[in-house]
């Protein structure tokens, strides 16, 4: 039983990253209607930047700088992905973000090499609760995901900017009529989501080393988490991320680590198929 709970604890920590990326995807989708295929790249970029910065400065400062830099890159991605008004469809935007993800792999490979990178965790001690080892890093990851879900929900429901984000995706024309600039809305959404995913990446790298090509797996796991909530619910994306992480760890523990991604993807395929009963293409 102790090993089972150990798997659950590790699963919740990796699942937190999926949840964070999933919630970021939901935020961008709700604000712009775009599914950002390059979202996972932000996690990788932040992780690799922190790895480079930490050689010269304390970890906290390195992490902060990396997060800021990633948010800046995310605003650039926003401008490119949104494209031209009336000419770039949402499907074209998706393909543009696919292009950005491919291009980013080239840049990351050129800048950081192909070796997966990692750096020391927040603390190398671990708490023991009833035989289950809990690393502080795991706890921080889970808490950050939880806090992000709470703050994002508040942001979208209670703040003017959040309401503007939701409104502009619900009805772009009406949003423009009341004076919202869709491009700046997209930039805000991408920047917030980019910073959030960057925090996830910074916290992920000490537990799972990241390399230039990790972005794709992170994106697709995040998308799977977001699909739990139909790409619109922050809360369900959080739960989806946790569930996906725990499921993957249980497969690693009791079946075979090679099947962990396969089973997670199968779950996502079934979920998408199940969703298709409700939502119809427009």
């Amino acid at each position: 039983m102790t090993t089972f709970f150990q798997f659950v604890v590790v699963g919740i920590s990796t699942g937190s990253v999926f949840a964070i990326v999933g919630m970021s995807l939901v935020l961008v989708y709700r604000a712009t209607g775009i599914v950002n295929f390059a979202q996972g790249v932000f996690a990788v970029l932040a992780g690799l930047l922190t790895y480079s910065f930490v050689q010269h400065m304390p970890l906290a400062l390195a992490a902060m700088l990396a997060t800021l830099a990633t948010a800046l890159v995310a605003t650039l991605v926003a401008v490119v992905a949104v494209g031209f008004r009336g000419r770039t469809t949402h499907l074209a935007s998706l393909i543009i973000t696919v292009g950005i993800a491919i291009f980013a792999e080239a840049v990351l490979l050129a800048a950081f090499g192909e070796v997966p990178r990692s750096y020391p965790a927040i603390s190398d001690r671990a708490w023991e609760v009833g035989g289950v080892l809990i690393q502080p890093q795991y706890a921080v990851l889970a808490l950050v995901a939880l806090a992000a879900a709470f703050l994002l929900t508040l942001f979208l429901r209670r703040t003017i900017v959040g309401q503007a984000l939701v409104a502009s995706a619900d009805s772009p024309r009406a949003a423009e009529l009341i004076g919202l600039n869709l491009r700046s809305i997209a930039v805000i959404a991408f920047a917030v989501a980019g910073a959030l995913t960057a925090v996830g990446g910074v916290l992920l790298a000490p537990t799972v080393p990241v390399s230039y090509s990790s972005g794709l797996t992170i994106t697709i796991n995040g998308f799977a988490a977001a699909v739990f909530g139909g790409l619109v619910s922050i809360r369900l994306a959080l739960l989806g991320g946790y569930a996906l992480g725990v499921l993957q760890q249980l497969v690693v523990g009791y079946v075979d680590s090679q099947y962990s991604l396969i089973i997670a993807l199968l779950v996502m395929l079934v979920l998408i198929g199940w969703r298709s009963r409700g939502e119809l293409a427009v």
Binding site: T88, H90, I100, I220, M268
Partner: protein
Amino acid sequence: MSAELAAQGRAARRRRVGAARVAALVGATVFACWLPFQLELGDVGLYDRMGLYALVAIGLTLLMGFAGQVSLGQGGFFLIGAYTSGLLTMGLDADTRLVDPQAGIDPLLAVAIAPLVTAGIAVVIGIPLMRLRGHYLAFATLAFALIAWSLLYAQDSFTGGQYGVTVTKRLVVAGHEITGATHAAVVWGLVGLALLLSTNLVSSRVGRALQAIAANEPAAAASGINVALYKLQLFVFAAAMAGLAGGLFTFFAQFLGPEDFGIIVSLLFVVMVSIGGLGSVYGAVVGAVTIVYAEHKLRELGTHETLLGWDLPSTAPSILSLGVFGLLLIVIMLFFPHGLLPGIAGAVSGMRRRLSRRSTP
């Protein structure tokens, strides 16, 4: 009466234009099949690969152009087609594969089964997904391709894992061994056939329905077109084309390993289609030829020790091809969302019109 005659005349004219087009296509196909016998051995491989990828791109461009759906997992169908024909030919039991010459079935039959398998998979994936917005199919097909690719490693006793499967048997049709230039000729013959079928399809009843769907989906649905069914058929057709290309790839490479089927292959098919224009089958062929050639040249460039005075790392070939293709996809989708070739053609004709207007005031 006269209106009827005029209609008949129009129909006859259309048939004549159709016949001329078919004749041109047949001529081009004959040339494409003759060409590999004139090429050097190294170039035949490149040429063959262009044809194989063109088969996949033709299917994908119809899906993207008419169904408004994008598949990021055509490489997965290509993979399954290749391994289906390879494993069926060499025997499903890995232990007897290279020892027992009787293990496995006839290569030609195996190639024929490959597209049926991928079409079957596409039906299962496609039924729930074709009714959803585009990004669901994009991610589902990507997930499918990732699953297929991961299974190569997870089921390594069956697929050979990273060491792959060597296919020792040759594809033989009516006593002729289909290898080298002959293989390339067969592949390009099939490309010609696929083009002929697709252009006929586009101008048939089915094609008019597809065009209606592409132009205005709710209106098409309102006039009684079963939109989801047509989209599903396109998806299944695209999967079958990729499966057929994969099945033929087996007897082109005579070896199957994971490197030829990475996720980037799936994404490259999307780049090929966006170069040629969404929905343009001829454009898809041009896109496939361009990408295969460009990848070959970039790989060559990347293996140099230095480039423009810069020392190149060992990862340079990957950096160059990922960078160029990623950038290409971004630029095309931003500035020429209907395809690079149609975009350039439109810009040229627009400029010519402007010039002629200026010269005749």
